[in-house]
């Protein structure tokens, strides 16, 4: 029954493929296609709809797009609820995420057409700006999720985060021992380097990777400048070199990790703020009807 076995193999392959398939290409990009169709229909409608004196959120087409857009925003923001309950099947979390990404992108078209390209310093444009902020941060998130994990893996060099911390701690203990013969000034350099928290840097430093005021680097510079180094000084200099190498690995890790995580600090609050602004937008329109 070679054919049965062949079929089973093929079925297993499909299952395996779908298990490993990215949410971006889920079901042969079904949601991408749906989003494209939705966007094209919205654009065609905008071109053909007879709204005067000019395209406007308050025309019949504007209200139609606005209603669709508002429902989409609410549904998109429910991903935060949905992802906490994983279920299989056609409404699997992967399908949901795929739809979230592509329908979210189609919202750029729908909401921009809803504005009729009329912007101002008001709560309506605030809602639009927050929505665009959420979408742009989401696009960034997708890009870094598809690009950075490989770099993160390369930087690890088969070390876990714990090992990186352990390694630094081991180097620090050796440094402490090795620095015992040093005089006051040099000891202070070592103490300063050891006391500096490798994680005590803000989000900008982590993202940029430029660690100014790094005392380990300062200590290396100081020890490198010493002529005719004694054996102890030499050893400390070597250990400081090891320390900075370990710090740099941790810092690269911090940078990649920050780049992977920072968008959510915009995406999530922008979404929640958007829900508020959207409510204010809709209520204000009907309040001053």
């Amino acid at each position: 029954m070679a054919t049965t076995a062949g079929r089973k193999y093929a079925a297993d392959e499909r299952r395996r493929d779908s298990d490993h398939e990215s949410f971006l290409v889920h079901r042969r990009m079904r949601w991408f296609k749906i989003a494209v169709v939705v966007s094209v229909v919205a654009i065609l409608g905008y071109a053909l709809a007879d709204v005067k004196p000019r395209p406007n959120g308050g025309s019949w087409y504007g209200y139609t797009l606005g209603t669709i857009g508002a429902l989409l925003i609410v549904w998109l923001s429910l991903l935060g609820v949905r992802k906490r309950a994983m279920t299989p099947g056609s409404w699997s979390l992967k399908a949901w995420t795929s739809a979230h990404v592509y329908l979210g992108l189609s919202l750029i078209v729908i909401a921009t057409l809803h504005t009729g390209f009329q912007f101002g310093w008001n709560v309506h444009t605030l809602a639009y700006a927050l929505m665009m902020l959420a979408i742009v941060s989401g696009i960034y998130g997708i890009v870094v999720y598809s690009m950075l994990p490989a770099s993160l893996s390369n930087n690890r060099r088969e070390m876990t985060k714990r090992e990186m911390v352990e390694s630094l701690a081991a180097i620090d203990r050796q440094l402490e021992q090795a620095a015992q013969p040093l005089d006051r000034g040099e000891s202070d350099l070592v103490i300063a380097a050891l006391e500096q928290d490798p994680f005590g840097y803000g989000v900008w430093t982590r993202l940029s990777g430029h660690y100014r005021n790094c005392r380990t680097e300062a200590a290396i510079a100081a020890f490198s400048g010493v002529r005719n180094r004694a054996e102890a000084e030499d050893r400390v200099r070597a250990l400081l070199g090891k320390r900075i190498a370990q710090l740099q690995q941790i810092r690269r890790h911090l940078r990649l990790k920050a780049m992977l995580e920072v968008w959510l600090y915009i995406h999530v609050p922008a979404t929640i703020a958007l829900l508020g602004a959207l409510t204010a937008h809709i209520v204000s329109v009907f309040y001053y009807w």
């Binding site: 004196p53 000019r54 352990e166 081991a170 050893r235 999530v268 829900l275 204010a280 209520v283």
Partner: protein
């Protein structure tokens, strides 16, 4: 080669106990077994865990002897080479062994029990996450949400609900706070002063702007037609329009026929956008179907469905009051004058010759041009009536006598005075103006340019003849048994219900619309028909028109003048 082993233990009180020993071997074994060179009693460590040996290059080679690895300088591995000069730390279970160089080329090994399996990493691991240096996402989100809801929702609603309603005024701003953030766009120029007074129009919450809000200021705005008639004229809506109306009604929008149906605000500074053609076409497109007594033709699009113009004028000498006559019937106009435009505009001939002769003095060019006789009103919209003394008399002289160097002129418009002046001129002796010699050609009696300079009384008798001093331009009238001329009418405006401004068309030559050059008689109505206008103007949606033109380009929904006399003021309607 020697390994100098320093074992540092801690008592329960924290005091350190240091034991030193020397192992003179080239390689040592570290493990839990008692026979190991370095014996570490920890269940996490294998009996024979790690072997340490020296390489020929003076390095130390560390390898796992069993299947479990070890940690060197924090890094898990099963084999490593380290330099005693730089030193390294080997971690096994709860023990840490520090390798370094000692004097005499021996290797120093310091063994410490950390007393714990490394679990201090947990805390440090959190430092990797961005969450350790940023406020929580929830905190940021809730803060932003609270600010937005308070500033853009709670504050305006609260201040709107608690305000003391006052009569709207363009002089003082509204009392609702933060509602400027709700404005979807600037108001038009005429309503600019209401920009900070939203509640002047948005009176009640969730109630769309009602006509009363507009009428609070626009008290004098006239209605388009009798209200009952307006309702009767409204046609049945298309499916789409009907659906939109139903939705609008469901959402409590006023109308149909509300001010806001046509006048849409918040579309930006500048003039308010023109009302769309469809709002007129709703009723006027098929008006005859619903208002059977209407005199108006159907109109839905200037380029497609619009009746021919009707001019308000007299068509005969006996008409007492001007009537509207469709240009489609090619009507003749009665203005009470004899005036052939063609002769006056001819580039050759006597008129042109005369214009050239006296032109410099009166500002004419070569031959006569329209502007030599027709003068625009101050606003340029229309033309002033032609005035005999200003526009005709330079050529059509009323001189009848000459005393010394001075000419005596008849007074235009006063027949009794004319008769008296001419008769009187005969009583005083004076030199004849003409020699009495017969003149040739057209200057002879009966010719076009014959001038009869016989005495005053003679002129009186022939005044009303076609070549007489009056009859040359006027028709005689004997109303009331007295000699007179028929009234002259020069309508300032032919189209009472449509707007036309000459100044907006000044790029065009007069002759492109008015066929004056070929008109032989003043009964020719020189108004262009709708076809002429359609050369440039077609409906609002026309793609081919030079000037797409909606209804409001020429028409006004609200009567421009005489509102109370027409359908009445909108404010007179029953309250909603």
């Amino acid at each position: 080669m020697t390994f100098r082993v320093r074992t540092i233990d801690q008592t329960a009180a924290g005091r350190e106990i240091v034991r030193e020993s020397e192992i003179a071997k080239d390689s040592i074994v570290i493990g839990r077994a008692a026979e190991c060179d370095i014996h570490l009693p920890d269940l996490a460590i294998e009996q024979r865990h790690v072997g340490v040996s020296q390489t020929p290059g003076g390095q130390l080679k560390v390898e796992a002897l069993g299947t479990l690895g070890f940690t060197i300088d924090g890094r898990a591995t099963t084999g490593a080479t380290l330099s005693p000069r730089e030193g390294s730390e080997l971690a096994l279970g709860s023990y840490r062994l520090e390798f370094g160089a000692a004097e005499g080329g021996s290797i120093a090994v310091t063994v410490r029990s950390s007393g714990e399996h490394d679990d201090h990493g947990k805390e440090a691991l959190r430092g990797f996450a961005l969450a350790s240096v940023l406020p929580g996402k929830r905190g940021i989100a809730w803060t932003a949400l609270a600010i937005i809801v308070i500033a853009f929702l709670a504050v305006p609603i609260y201040t709107h609900l608690t305000r003391i309603p006052t009569k709207p005024s363009i002089d003082k701003p509204g009392t609702v706070v933060m509602d400027a953030s709700w404005s979807p766009g600037p108001l038009s120029a005429v309503h600019h002063s209401l920009e900070k007074n939203c509640e002047a129009c948005h009176v009640k919450a969730f109630v769309a702007v009602r006509d009363n809000a507009c009428l609070a200021c626009h008290k004098d705005i006239g209605d388009h037609a009798d209200h009952a008639k307006l309702l009767a004229a409204r046609g049945s809506m298309s499916w789409g329009a009907g659906f939109q109306r139903a939705v609008a009604t469901m959402f409590n929008k006023p109308g149909p026929g509300a001010c806001t149906d046509c006048h849409i605000e918040h579309q930006g500074t500048g003039p308010m956008p023109d009302t769309r053609q469809e709002f007129c076409a709703d009723c006027h497109g098929t008006l005859d179907e619903r208002l059977e007594d209407t005199a108006l033709g159907n109109a839905s699009d200037f380029g497609k469905v619009h009746p021919e113009f009707a001019a308000l004028m007299e068509t005969g000498p006996n008409q007492t009051k001007p009537m509207r006559v469709s240009l489609a019937s090619h009507p003749k106009q009665w203005d009470g004058l004899r005036f052939p435009h063609d002769i006056h505009l001819n580039l050759g001939g006597g008129v042109a010759r005369m214009a050239r002769n006296i032109g410099a003095e009166h500002g004419y060019g070569a031959a006569l041009d329209c502007k030599d006789c027709h003068h625009p009103t101050a606003d340029g919209t229309r033309f002033l009536p032609v005035d005999m003394e200003r526009d005709c008399e330079a050529c059509h002289s009323l001189v009848y006598d000459k005393v010394g160097p001075t000419f005596r002129t008849l007074r235009h418009g006063d027949i009794a005075q004319m008769q008296a002046d001419l008769v009187a001129s005969d009583r005083s002796g004076h030199a004849p103006i003409v020699t009495g010699r017969r003149r040739p050609g057209e200057y002879a009696p009966g010719g076009l340019y014959y001038g009869n300079f016989a005495g005053g009384s003679g002129l009186v008798g022939r005044a009303m003849a076609p070549d007489g001093v009056c009859g040359e331009c006027h028709f005689a009238s004997h109303a009331g048994g007295r000699l007179g001329v028929m009234p002259v009418t020069q309508p300032a405006r032919f189209f009472a219900h449509g707007w036309f401004s000459h100044v907006d068309h000044k790029q065009e030559a007069c002759s492109s619309c008015h066929a004056a050059k070929t008109s032989k008689t003043s009964t020719d109505l020189l108004l262009p028909g709708i076809g002429k206008c359609r050369e440039c103007h077609l409906g609002e949606d026309s793609k081919t028109a030079k000037v797409p033109s909606g209804c409001v380009m020429c028409h006004s929904y609200h009567p421009r003048e005489g509102a109370p006399a027409s359908a009445g003021l909108i404010t007179m309607r029953e309250p909603e």
